[in-house]
Subunit: 447 residues, 4 copies
């Protein structure tokens, strides 16, 4: 590497010590992975020249081998990146040193740093997206089974923290599933349009034209093909939707997982106890505790993601000239951190849902906590026209004061009304389309 005023850091900044939500799941986005993607981009450029016939195949192969085998210390490279403001400048220097003088000119030829760095970010994004997708698929499969299994477990539906009307554990899980599947689809769509970047210093491809003439028009597609990225319509140095659309999709993934985590954390509360993680975190000091550890970590990620997305958008909106003066640089660590959160949270979500347990006793106990009034809305609807709204209100008040719902309803409703009172006060008979809504999404038959 070129001599630089800075030495490499004595120690890496981040091994994940402050990020238990992601440790063990972020291999796809480490600095080493980014470096590999940068090298991949440089190799692909040489290969693309080869594909256009501009470079003999032998030289391409020699260069590809040499570039991939260059021994580059990530920390040294990071230190060398400061003066030029990005790691591509010293990387190119280092890569060129390792190749023969004859071939050297083909390394990074005609490209600008942004071409390589943006392309590498797209590669990292796509590779990480595959991992996120796999975790979301596991999560969705587990949710499908979970929703189907607990389709008919009637539970208290809660709005604004209060028991409202009955729902089912299955319906709640199927809503989680709908959120996850929507987010996964959006992520896949965004990942499938990630473009390579190739434009040269100001996005005109002029330098490439000097090298290969009119073939410069075909170079970006050849470059993209070598990386399995999408061929760009045009250089997008200051048109940053590839980052923001993908970033938005990542945030949406974290939103969807955050909802699961919020519901699991709530239902895991000691007083509620309807759900428990298969392997909750324990506490040595308080052996009775069984923390919803995965839900907690997922929530921590979901709370951070929106602001990372906002940073990508702010940078996008401030793109100026042919390369922005700071907005571009703000994107790199932000996108990486967002990927990291999605990787970690989706992996935890898959495990969480796979191990999620329902305490049906607790569900039933909670459902009865309002002493039958979980069906109060139904009483209003059905009995209101028969005995009047005031009588229904009085009845509800009597139950709240300690009265027995069944007895009070029997006393209030004339037999002549022909109302099936047992059915009326049975929460299981007031779950509406819950079963069908589960079946729709789990693919099972509702009857």
């Amino acid at each position: 590497l070129p001599s630089e005023p800075l030495e490499a850091a004595a120690t890496p900044l981040d091994h994940g010590l402050l990020s238990p939500a992601t440790v063990g799941h972020d291999d796809a986005v480490t600095d080493a992975a980014v470096l590999a993607a940068l090298v991949d981009a440089e190799v692909a450029l040489v290969e693309a020249y080869g594909d256009l016939g501009a470079v003999p195949r032998g030289v391409v192969d020699e260069l590809a081998t040499a570039l991939r085998s260059a021994e580059i210390d990530v920390a040294d490279l990071a230190a060398a990146s400061v003066s030029g403001g990005n790691p591509v400048i010293p990387l190119v220097g280092a890569l060129r040193e390792g190749v023969s003088e004859d071939s050297r000119a083909w390394v990074h030829r005609g490209a600008t740093s942004q071409d390589i760095l943006d392309t590498a970010l797209m590669l990292v994004a796509r590779r990480a997206a595959i991992d996120v997708h796999a975790s979301l698929r596991r999560t969705a499969l587990a949710l499908t089974a979970f929703a189907a299994e607990h389709r008919d477990v009637v539970a208290a539906g809660r709005t604004l923290t209060q028991h409202a009307v009955p729902t089912t554990i299955g319906l709640r899980a199927s809503n989680w599933l709908r959120g996850v599947e929507r987010a996964a689809a959006r992520l896949d769509a965004a990942a499938s349009v990630l473009p390579a970047q190739l434009g040269g210093a100001a996005g005109t491809l002029a330098a490439f034209g000097e090298v290969v003439g009119a073939d410069a028009a075909r170079l970006p597609a050849a470059f993209a093909a070598r990386l399995s990225l999408v061929a760009p319509d045009a250089p997008w140095h200051t048109t940053r939707w590839p980052l923001t659309e993908f970033g938005d999709a990542l945030v949406q993934v974290l939103d969807a997982l955050g909802v699961i985590a919020a519901d699991v954390a709530t239902a895991s509360r000691t007083e509620i106890g309807e759900l428990a993680e298969g392997s909750g975190g324990s506490s040595s000091a308080m052996p009775q505790k069984q923390n919803p550890a995965a839900a907690v970590l997922i929530r921590s990620a979901a709370l951070r993601a929106p602001m990372l997305g906002a940073t990508l958008h702010t940078a996008a909106a401030l793109a100026v000239d042919e390369r922005p003066d700071g907005a571009w640089h703000a994107e790199w660590p932000t996108l990486r951190e967002l990927l990291r959160l999605a990787l970690g949270a989706s992996a935890h979500a898959a495990s969480l849902v796979e191990g999620l347990r329902v305490d049906t006793d607790a569900v039933a106990r909670n459902l009865a906590a309002t002493r039958g009034l979980i069906v109060a809305e139904r009483l209003s609807l059905v009995l209101g026209p028969v005995i009047g709204r005031d009588a229904v209100a009085a009845l509800v008040a009597d139950v709240q004061a300690g009265g027995d719902l069944r007895a009070l309803v029997r006393a209030a409703v004339p037999a002549s009304a022909g109302i099936d009172i047992e059915n009326l006060i049975d929460p299981a008979q007031y779950t509406g389309r819950a079963r069908a809504l589960v079946d729709d999404v789990t693919g099972e038959e509702s009857r």
Copy 2:
């Protein structure tokens, strides 16, 4: 309206006095527009019941007329919204007062406040999106013409604030256009999937089942059809992608417009002077000033949008139970403000681009500001192999020290090299694929 502890505010909060970026463009999102959408949703529910045959057509018509003609003061309604936490509760009370006792039960029947409010937000979003789309269309048309007209105006390309290599005014504008078209397409896609909301208290549709039995399954689609919204797969009370996907698209719109504004503001600088708004803001005290007023207002909107998008995502990630305890409420004013910014910024962008003027003298003067070195990259590429990298560097240094580029190149390059020096040092001959990239997007032929 039901009696409430609060009186209506003596004066509205916001006429736009602090929001010149949006004044005059936000009719689609005023409180009055929201109220109209809330009433539309209540009417559509009655109509949907009618469409299922549950209510006689005459009653439907009577109710539709009565609801739409109810005189409701927005400020009073807002004041009455506080105790219940949302405006639907007092609205339903007010609407019911205005209809016959026989029909009264059909108003809001089986619905929950969230059904009506979410649906109304979707209506407001769709209506505002139409206006935003129209402004983006105007902007895109004007950009197409502008890019085509200035396709061959060679200008200094700038990276990290410094002159880099030549580009064209047309290419820069075509990049703006690509950003706008991408954002418009995304907005259209998001607007086209905005779903109605109908689920009842806990999203089971149970109350609707009490009213219309198995037909409850068909009610959401009938409801959505009456509003020209998409029929929901399922109630989405806590699955908030309809807001976040639409919100993300709005932020993307503002990003794309922000880039135009950033470039126009920069190019309007007194020292640069390449671009001028048709009707810039003037200053009475400083009559020589011609401010890029529209660009400034667009930028102010683009800087605010990302955080509004982040708020929507945070709320989405915190959706819990069957209706969240605060996250839902945080969405309403946030989505409205984001719509407002998109309405204002897109309208200003259309006017800005339609009136945008190029000072070609300034463009040419700036292009020459580095005394020919705007083609330094080309000199390196072409002359490096001929005279050596060190000689090129020396040549560049000589020009920077005051030397004449043409003379120095002539002196340095042997005639035997067969290089067309006039072509080599002509910035217009080093714009690469700029012309084709413009033509691709403007639909013109490049040769």
Copy 3:
């Protein structure tokens, strides 16, 4: 007002229909209040000239009266603000029209729009801060009484949603109080340094020097004194800490209130039921519900505030030149909305705490929910050294399996150990310094 292409909006944007968290509490920050502050700033400038002896007192009085009595329609003014990008330009035009030709020159003399608008924002901020402070004071007083009253109500302490060790209702409330008092102190500190703005077009005060010569040095202080704002060290057109420090304090207020709301919402859950708002929101359809309505609204505000604070900081960081090209404009509606949230949330918090009720039966029932294991940590600490860690773990497991804690402890602990088992297993004996921590902040004596 000067003729403008835009007409005033037919209807105001915002009466609070989508903002139940703030309706009824935002008088201090309406557009009308902003307009009044703008006029106050213009009047103060004339008065400051008078105080320096530059304008006869009679003229000052005439102008002050005329400016204050000018009839200006806020909506018209907003519409007229667009072309110049801020409301001061048309305001000055309108104000000048209403005064005698002789005096006219003294209106806005030497000032720039930013002087008046920034100063008006500071006035609005200070006025609103007084209201917020009053609500925080009410909240703190109510919390003090509440904490003192429930100082010894032993309750389950919860970490990561699970019962951990005992705490008290009073200690939890005293923590809320500490947060509120810290935030109130910070808000007061920030409000007490809000400076007037007076610098002229580029912050040099040159135009004022033309008018009053060397006295220009004293003009800002005279101006500030008339408004009871702090005299600025220097014009702060691009040094935006007055907005961000105040904005940070507002966000901190909302954080502190958000914590109360989060705890109240949680403790109000049907299954927990330890706390209830005095006048919770009810539901006509579900008469059994008693929603924590104020907590929900406060949470909705607390979730929005951080991103508004971030917008102020982003704008501050992008201040450039002598007046920024959009960043400045982004601040106005953002600061106003943040003030509005603080006004609404603090008013709701005061009412909430004043009416907050404790269900001590529920508290006790919950405390016992782990069948005595709320003191498991104490068992480990005390019994571990006596009977060994494994024996304690076995004991805990036996209780979890249904065993009786008292009996199991009695069986496990030899009498010779001299341990007071009743004390050991009594949660009330394991609240540590809870009582003292309450007394410290409520000012009561703990013994």
Copy 4:
């Protein structure tokens, strides 16, 4: 370390490859630094027990030595942190393994993970703040010298990107200085109140009471004293102002540096060229370029900081129960990243300002760019009363059309008016209090 399902990552996530803004400046906040602070906190707890006389001094010394010399691999520790959700749990296990069985019980005795982790974050914050402060001090000293040196360099003042009235390079720099000094003072104030955390599982200090009885009241202060942190009034497990106030101060630091960077980047533009960094980044492909590299990196940091601050606030507002279920965990990496940005940006700012060069020729050339009309405001003020506003406007228009300002003024102003025209049209005579405003802050005498 306890056996864990996860292996340590094969490679660290972050060496700074994507963060050139901070590489080389973030030693104080690496994972290794955090680990050291965690150990410091555990040692301090033992020492505090010793200071209260609960542990013999010999045992304290033995433990302190043993804990500090424990060989703990950061990556292993991070991997072991996942199941419990924080690194303290496995850290305590590892530390206990290395001490004698007799002393083992004193490690982490009575503490909860949050006590140690929060305290360690405060330590890291304070240590990093010292570095940030030193860089801000360097920046302020350099700015003081720079402002004094260029106090009288008259330059075009710009508002909304356009030349407005004259200012001076010194005044602009003194405004930067005011922002930096304000931010530094706020950071110092925030750093000086960083409290230790010590409360035990639910913040009651009950476990400490089991160990040392009434002395538990004195333990937090003893603990804090050992770490030179502030003794907390009370445990602040869910009262998060220590993080948010410090975080706000860091964001304010980045705002102040961002303004410098924005102005330097703007003034470095090829067409403006008034300022240049001493060692700007160069480009091998475009040897004529001299990028404002430090300004670009500082801007990239300043654009990211506000959203990190917002994340801290969101987490603070969601603190619930006695330890929150995710909000707490979201704070750790966020605070660290914010510290990192402040470290990097402040170091770059110091270097930038120390090396900042002024091209006075460019300044003068730009000042003249409007052909004298930089004093148009003054012409209005002075000549308006003499020759009428319309005549002034005509004069300005004539200059804009190519006329000579001096000649036109001479022609328009009657000699009888007694106006010193040379003075009138000299920009240097229209800088108002610029000189005094510089002297105020640089401490020099203005006359």
